[in-house]
């Protein structure tokens, strides 16, 4: 009996064997997560296209395996470049989940590390540290944030190079066990890859995260607010759009992160406003609504500039509180 099945599988399938790509797609449930990605991540067109392509490649690879068209597993080490707050970490998290659903990695875990976790402080400290991190990330995705800090050309005796060496070795030898994602700002990552050609050639996918447009940022703001049960009035939306347009031209603009900070401060002002006219009855809807004035009180509007810590005027509202 076993002999029979053996010979059966040995028969080469004819070239016109039908392939049920649809069924495969449904069974992996990858469409669900891709749609989720579309819904919950605003903008980022090139990123989404790339993820779709990767998902498609892995699906087709699975089908090819079924048809016994063996090919080496594709390397999926990636680099995410983009300005601050463009969603690199968020996408990395999703990536781990997608790769897990497509059975490319065994666990859907994402281990996020920075230079501190990889590089040691004295001779002989780096290798065990890096190896430890790699061991923990195995079976999942290792996300190295601000990876360019690993390499410090100005210091020849920096231990970062040792860490890179070990990473390269693992990326090559344990391709089945680990996917490495390097992330960082575009220009610095370019220098990093330029001075580490080994790293560049082992990272097959370079994905660049574009900046958001003000409209996209507004959509993100609405998503964020909905998540924490707030809503913006129409005027507030207009104000926020105006705010992001102005804020973008200023220093230290960090895309979605700046928006989140602005919203946090708007909540602060909203609370203060409610507190100030506590004599009036406050309803549930008042607790949920952010008005335009909460946003317009920002220093971005008042003075057209930020103070040093990028704090856009959280204290403006408290001017009337006594100063000590």
């Amino acid at each position: 009996m076993s002999n029979e099945t053996e010979t059966e599988t040995n028969i080469i399938l004819p070239d016109d064997t039908p392939v049920d790509l649809q069924a495969e797609m449904v069974s992996s449930n990858v469409m669900g997560i891709l749609d989720e990605l579309d819904r919950e991540l605003i903008g980022l067109k090139p990123v989404k296209t790339r993820i779709r392509e990767t998902a498609a490649l892995l699906l087709v690879d699975r089908m090819r395996n079924k048809m016994e068209l063996s090919a080496a597993a594709p390397t999926l080490h990636m680099s995410f470049t983009g300005n601050p707050g463009t969603g690199k970490t968020t996408v990395a998290l999703r990536m781990a989940e997608i790769l897990h659903r497509l059975e490319y990695v065994r666990t859907g875990q994402l281990v996020t590390v920075t230079r501190d976790d990889l590089v040691g402080q004295y001779i002989g400290h780096t290798a065990p540290k890096t190896k430890d991190v790699i061991k923990k990330a195995m079976g999942g995705v290792l996300f190295i944030d601000e990876a360019y800090y690993l390499y410090k050309p100005e210091n020849e005796r920096d231990y970062g190079a040792e860490s890179i060496e070990i990473l390269l070795q693992t990326m090559e030898n344990n391709r089945d066990d680990l996917v490495v994602i390097l992330a960082g700002y575009k220009d610095k990552m370019d220098t990093f890859f330029h001075s580490n050609p080994g790293m560049r050639s082992r990272v097959a996918h370079h994905i660049d995260f574009p900046d958001y447009s003000p409209e996209e940022l507004l959509a993100i703001a609405q998503l964020m607010m909905a998540e924490s049960n707030y809503r913006l009035t129409d005027d507030a939306k207009k104000a926020l759009l105006e705010y992001t347009t102005r804020r973008m031209t200023m220093d230290h603009f960090a895309n979605a992160r700046s928006v989140r900070n602005a919203l946090d401060r708007a909540r602060l002002r909203q609370a203060n406003r409610l507190f100030a006219d506590a004599s009036n009855s406050v309803t549930k809807i008042d607790l949920m609504t952010i008005h335009a004035e909460d946003i317009l009180a920002s220093r971005v509007f008042q003075e057209g500039s930020l103070d040093l810590d990028g704090d856009e005027g959280a204290d403006v509202d408290f001017d009337d509180t006594p100063k000590h």
């Binding site: 065994r106 666990t107 875990q109 065990p128 190896k131 790699i134 061991k135 923990k136 990330a137 195995m138 079976g139 999942g140 344990n174 066990d177 680990l178």
Partner: protein
């Protein structure tokens, strides 16, 4: 011996079975990780059954998710101490247990010479018996070379 037909040291789990393959070891480690056990690797060149405390190879591994990470350590230990006994142990930190749950040998020396039986004449024609591993005839560090 009838029960130990391969004349090898039998300690821990699976030691009467043929040596585990790497795939089987991976599966055992996966089971341990799924139970939430912490895994550590130990080695020794003294197979005496009363030698319970072996040398640790690296630190215990607490927050591993995947057996591949542990296998890397197993391979590293095999490379460094190829002619020693190496075992993988899994400890359960659950309150009330807080103890070792698994232990199995993953590497053996090429030759396992076995044990010598020592007899000791005691008072009143009593006999004392003990065993000494032949492997321990050499000083530590020079054994199994």
């Amino acid at each position: 011996m009838m029960t130990n037909y391969r004349n090898q040291v039998t300690q821990g789990q699976f030691s009467f079975l043929p040596d585990l393959t790497d795939e089987e070891i991976t599966l055992q480690i996966k089971y341990a990780l799924d139970q939430g056990y912490a895994i550590n690797i130990e080695y020794t060149d003294d197979p005496h059954p009363r030698n319970t405390y072996w040398e640790m190879f690296g630190f215990p591994m607490f927050d591993m998710k995947d057996p591949a990470g542990v296998m890397v350590e197993v391979q590293a230990c095999r490379k460094t101490f190829s002619n020693c006994y190496i075992r993988v142990m899994a400890s359960d930190a659950t309150r009330g247990t807080e103890s070792q749950k698994m232990s199995f040998i993953v590497n053996r020396p090429a030759v396992e010479p076995g044990f010598r039986l020592l007899r000791e004449e005691r008072e009143g024609r009593c006999m004392g018996y003990t065993i000494v591993p032949y492997a321990c005839d050499m000083p530590e560090g020079e054994r199994g070379q």
